[in-house]
Amino acid sequence: MTALTTTDLTPPRAVDDGAAGGGPTPGRRRFRLRLPDRLRQGGLPYLLLLPALLFELLIHLVPMVVGVVMSFKELTQFYLRDWTQAPWTALSNYEVAVDFDAPIGAALLDSFAVTCLFTVVAVSLSWLLGTTAAILMQETFRGRGLLRALFLTPYALPIYAAVITWAFILQRDNGMLNHVIHDQLGLTSDPTFWLIGDNSFVSLVLVAVWRNWPFAFLILMAAMQNIPQEQYEAAQLDGAGVWQQIRRITLPSVRPVNQVLVLVLFLWTFNDFNVPYLLFGRAAPESANLISLHIYQSSFGTWNFGFGSAMSVLLLLFLLLVTAGYLLFTSRGRKGEHV
């Protein structure tokens, strides 16, 4: 492809225009060329965006609005055929949800607390493992490509195939994990229950971290490839060792990427439905009852979609609040650093 610049060549269309218009001056010709382009530019970008906008409207925006409307209605199974006919209940769905003394509100609060704890632990561990691996694999060494493929495989697997395998591993009687820690190492006097009771929280974290750390690894690896080599060379001339280079160059350089990465990991983990749903089936133990699964189960268990929507809206508000606060906090920190 030849590199052409607009100054080298008069556009053919302009020549045609010029011929039709009867030999205008070069200055006028440029003006006439720009006009139709401008008109086109006015509508064309919107036309190009239209399909994307339509789909987003249909699948995301409209349902969101409908969901908010539903949350103010007494939308029980009797009204599912025609949800618009369901009676308005004002805030009563919300009142039930936040009445933490009653069993329904208390269950929601429990699920919320479990989800918060799960998110903090799983995101920290995923980020830590991803960062460690990305730093250690920055330099080339024999087998690096193979190792990278291995590390990424848990993330590439379809989530259901991965979690079903973990369910097999975590069985009490015949699972691999108990075989190792009970039969082979003799660490426990009885085989542990991993999929019921309080230990299910550990199982949940284990599977979520196994699944998500490769994503952190992938993103950070990409970010670290962009750090200019000269920075390291300059640091070496100053006598900085490997550990100092990591602390002074690598970690600060990937800070902007970390800002987005941690947010994305937070949102995914907090909204995680797949891991608990596939690991425990429809009845998740209390200690692993993440909020998405909780809303799902109570909505499809009772067919009270109004209440389910109210809980979803509360969840969304919480996420918006945290995200806004997080972005405000992290960008202020970064701004201060640059000054």
Binding site: M1, L49, L58, E139, P158, I164, S292, F305, L315, L316
Partner: protein, 293 residues
């Protein structure tokens, strides 16, 4: 020759890293490899075991190797049907999503227009919303559309395709904008000069130059649709069930055929894992291109 040179010159430092670093690297990476690989080994080895091996105590080494599970999986549940449903749904969602994303990304990359920032931010922000928020209303909306127009969206592949294509759309647009931005504008200006319209420039110049990015986005869109569970669990029926829901069928039998479960898991994983690993480099470049912006 050039390979050996590259191998001898490490990426970060011309001097060899200290022993402490090398040993830390060896130990940590070995542990991480074990963590990543153990479940994969369990999946692979168990899929080649006879049923006695998986219903009794766990064994690291199969008592005998058999490919029987790989034959039986197709009869225990209608796996072929689920597989076909997944192929149709994920394939159609990918093609549609990538096409729509190409148009949108071209507009964002090449034009300045009112509402550009609002568009990019609002589209990206749909990624943060919990799926459960859309699920209940969408379930009802699809049912209502079905009642009103006779178009069966609920329980059909069409409804699922429509839903999945929007799941990958925001990220696809974002990645493609990064890709398109890295293609010199001079190229499409030259094409315009040669008499192409804006769409001609898009399809004759920009799209061919962005093939790696488009492939990476396609893999991402396919993986998203292939692995989705939440919407598949309520929006499919026994005819349109995808693998995400269908695979749980092995566990509802009176006896769980774990060797078959593992074999089926492996079979449904191969297409996406192979695609992902082959294209991870493109994906990394695409991610970086998008994030540089």
């Amino acid at each position: 020759m050039s390979e050996t040179l590259a191998a001898k010159r490490p990426h970060r430092s011309p001097t060899a890293p200290p022993r402490s670093f090398v040993w830390t690297r060896r130990i940590v990476l070995t542990l991480l490899s074990l963590f990543a690989a153990t479940p994969i080994y369990v999946m692979l080895s168990s899929s080649l075991k006879p049923l006695e091996d998986v219903t009794g105590k766990f064994r690291w080494i199969p008592s005998e190797l058999t490919i029987r599970p790989y034959i039986d999986i197709w009869d225990t549940i209608p796996l072929a049907k689920y597989f076909w449903n997944s192929v149709i749904v994920a394939g159609a969602a990918t093609v549609l999503s990538v096409t729509v994303a190409i148009f949108a990304a071209y507009a964002v990359s090449r034009y300045n227009f009112r509402g550009k920032r609002v568009f990019t931010i609002s589209v990206l922000s749909t990624q943060m919303f919990p799926g459960i928020l859309f699920l209940l209303p969408l379930f009802l909306i699809f049912a209502n559309i079905g009642d009103a127009t006779g178009i069966p969206l609920s329980g059909s592949r069409g409804g699922l395709i429509l839903t999945y294509l929007t799941f990958s759309l925001p990220f696809s647009i974002w990645m493609l904008v990064g890709y398109f931005d890295s293609i010199p504008r001079g190229l499409d200006e030259a094409a315009r000069v040669d008499g192409c319209g804006p769409l001609g420039a898009l399809f004759r110049v920009v799209v061919p130059a962005a093939v790696p990015g488009i492939v990476a986005v396609s893999v991402y869109a396919f993986m998203t649709a292939w692995g989705e569970v939440l919407f598949a669990s309520v929006m499919t029926n026994s005819e349109t069930r995808t693998l995400a829901v269908g695979l749980q069928g092995y566990s509802t039998q009176t006896e769980v055929y774990w060797n078959q479960v593992m074999a089926a898991s492996l079979v449904v994983s191969v297409p996406v894992v192979a695609g992902f690993l082959l294209l991870q480099r493109f994906l990394v470049t695409g991610l970086t291109a998008g994030s540089v912006k």
